[in-house]
């Protein structure tokens, strides 16, 4: 996964399930009172937990470390196209909505959105 990907500005290291070190791609865009965080699954480049399995904890820690107001967070999970012959490795974006318990997120619910919608959000 190249970090010059338009949805990945940096690699983000996190402690995942069972304290396994994980890596995801990260892009943060602050816009109109919202902070849009795009977390990208890195598949085989990630030695630990996939972000789908850790989205609530990941969103919590990202808000804490990057000083994002949890009330302003728009969390997008991205699964990039790895050019597999299997179409379910095609690029997908989901807005992940959480229940909020103070500064912690829980109970993720995913809603599929298009790349164009993501581009509009971060434009």
């Amino acid at each position: 996964m190249k970090t010059d990907d338009k949805y990945v500005d940096r690699l983000y290291h996190f402690n995942g399930k069972w304290d396994m070190p994980g890596i995801c791609g990260l892009k943060v865009v602050r816009k109109s009172g919202k902070t849009i965080v795009i977390a990208t699954n890195l598949y085989d480049k990630n030695p630990g937990t996939s972000i789908s399995r850790w989205s609530a904890q990941l969103a919590t820690i990202i808000c804490s470390e990057l000083e994002i107001d949890p009330g302003e967070l728009v969390f997008i999970e991205r699964n990039p196209n790895i050019h597999s012959r299997l179409e379910f490795y095609a690029e997908t974006f989901d807005i992940v909505e959480f229940d909020r318990e103070g500064s912690h997120f829980a109970n993720p619910v995913w809603k599929r959105i298009s790349g164009d919608e993501v581009d509009e959000l971060i434009a």
Partner: protein, 421 residues
């Protein structure tokens, strides 16, 4: 310290020929136990046991998701009796949070170099609820040889013919296959056992037929070639998962005794056709593993795939239904889309739809699955095809002088039960 090591039973697939292989995980785990332990191993698929047997600690080793509920049931009974229960193994790791509700202790990771710490805590009455060694993978020098002397050997025979023994030369997997949890369980880093340790273990196995259970033999060509060179002198015949598609590797595999491989047939491409032909060119038979219900399969795609199987000369085929096991991308995707409707782990047997497929109903997928088995084995039964594979290995063994006649004292027995020949 008396340890009862239990491998819980599960319901076998209806369509599969019932061959009970000696379990691998428990005897690899047992090899990591210190000398002061006395281990009584029970493979519950083959043996019963009494809860009244004297025991200090019960260890439950689980490989399959369809074993976990039975494992929990056993643990609940022992714990009601005041006996401590430790869980480990692949499906323990996949279902750790739920398993903790039934365990005194759950072990995450690989036992070598770590299990003594657990037993020390147990001896002091201070066993922890969770031992998490997921980030502390052991030195591969410490692995094995597996303690196959713990098996009740006579149980793993069918009409006098010994079942294959399972063996592994590496752990971890660098690939990212959609339905697979191996990268979570064993890590993404390929970890090889030292060749002298591999040879040492091969030398201990009193069986000329093996199942090399490494996740794949297509991760590192140079290592794989050296593995096969190491195996050649032992004159074993073995089945395995995929082998690198490389002429030198396949040639060495054949010399080392590659008997047949499990090869995923996921589309109707020339690539698959050629891949199978190349195995055959080297005298290696192929059991196609065909996963049904993937998101890119319409009913027409599946039917085309069934027709294709008739064109590529598979020696055997095994059909399964996509099952979203925890810690897989399949699970993530299904969960996100709320497509999993059956959360009973006893149903996660890979022969029933527990989720809503993308293009067909679960009921239709089930029908297509049944049709796949019936159509593939319509002209020649599974038993007939397996007999051909057996004859192939017998011919090889006769040529190499390693053939062992079936045991006459077990001719009327199949996996410990009387059968009328």
């Amino acid at each position: 310290m008396k340890i009862k090591l239990i491998y819980p039973r599960w319901k076998k697939l209806d369509r599969q020929t019932e061959f009970n292989l000696p379990p691998h995980g428990p005897v690899v785990f047992a090899a990591a136990l210190p000398d002061y332990t006395e281990v009584d191993f029970v493979d519950e698929n083959m043996q019963s046991f009494s809860y009244d047997d004297p025991v200090d600690l019960v260890c439950i080793s689980m490989m399959l998701t369809s074993q976990v509920k039975r494992g929990w049931e056993i643990a609940d009974t022992y714990r009601e009796m005041g006996i401590k229960v430790l869980f480990g193994g692949i499906s323990t790791m996949l279902h750790a949070e739920e398993t903790m509700l039934h365990a005194d202790s759950v072990f995450m990771g690989e036992a070598e170099g770590h299990i003594e710490e657990v037993l020390d805590d147990f001896a002091r009455g201070e066993m922890k609820k969770l031992y998490n060694f997921m980030n502390q993978q052991p030195d591969m020098e410490l692995v094995g040889p597996a303690r196959r002397n713990l098996y009740d050997r006579d149980l793993y025979y069918h009409k006098g013919v010994q079942m294959v023994d399972l063996f592994h030369a590496s752990r971890g997997c660098k690939f990212n296959c959609y339905p697979c949890a191996v990268s979570f369980l064993g890590g993404r880093r390929f970890r090889a056992r030292p060749f002298d340790r591999i040879a040492e273990e091969l030398d201990t196995i009193d069986n000329n037929r093996l199942f090399v259970v490494d996740n794949t033999l297509a991760q590192d060509k140079e290592w794989t070639k050296e593995l096969f060179r190491t195996m050649i002198p032992f004159k074993k015949n073995w089945c395995s998962h995929t082998i690198s598609d490389d002429s030198e590797v396949l040639n060495l595999a054949a010399q080392a005794g590659s008997w047949y491989v499990y090869q995923a047939v996921f589309d109707t491409s020339d690539y698959i056709k050629e891949r199978i032909k190349r195995y055959h060119d080297y005298g290696i038979s192929v059991e196609g593993t065909i996963l049904l219900g993937m998101d890119n399969q319409t009913e027409d795609d599946m039917k085309r795939l069934f027709d294709f199987l008739g064109e590529i000369n598979l020696d055997l085929a095994e059909f399964t239904i996509l099952t979203p096991f925890p810690e897989t991308k399949a699970y993530d995707d299904m969960l996100k889309e709320s497509r999993i409707f059956d959360h009973d782990w006893n149903h996660y047997t890979a022969d029933r739809a527990v989720y809503q497929p993308r293009h067909v109903s679960p009921e239709r997928l089930q029908e297509l699955f049944e049709y796949a088995w019936e159509s593939f084995y319509a002209t020649e039964t599974q038993e007939q095809k397996m007999f051909k594979l057996m004859m192939k290995v017998v011919e090889r063994e006769m040529a190499s002088g390693t053939y062992r006649k079936p045991r006459t004292d077990l001719m009327e027995s199949s996996f410990g039960k009387f059968v009328d020949r």
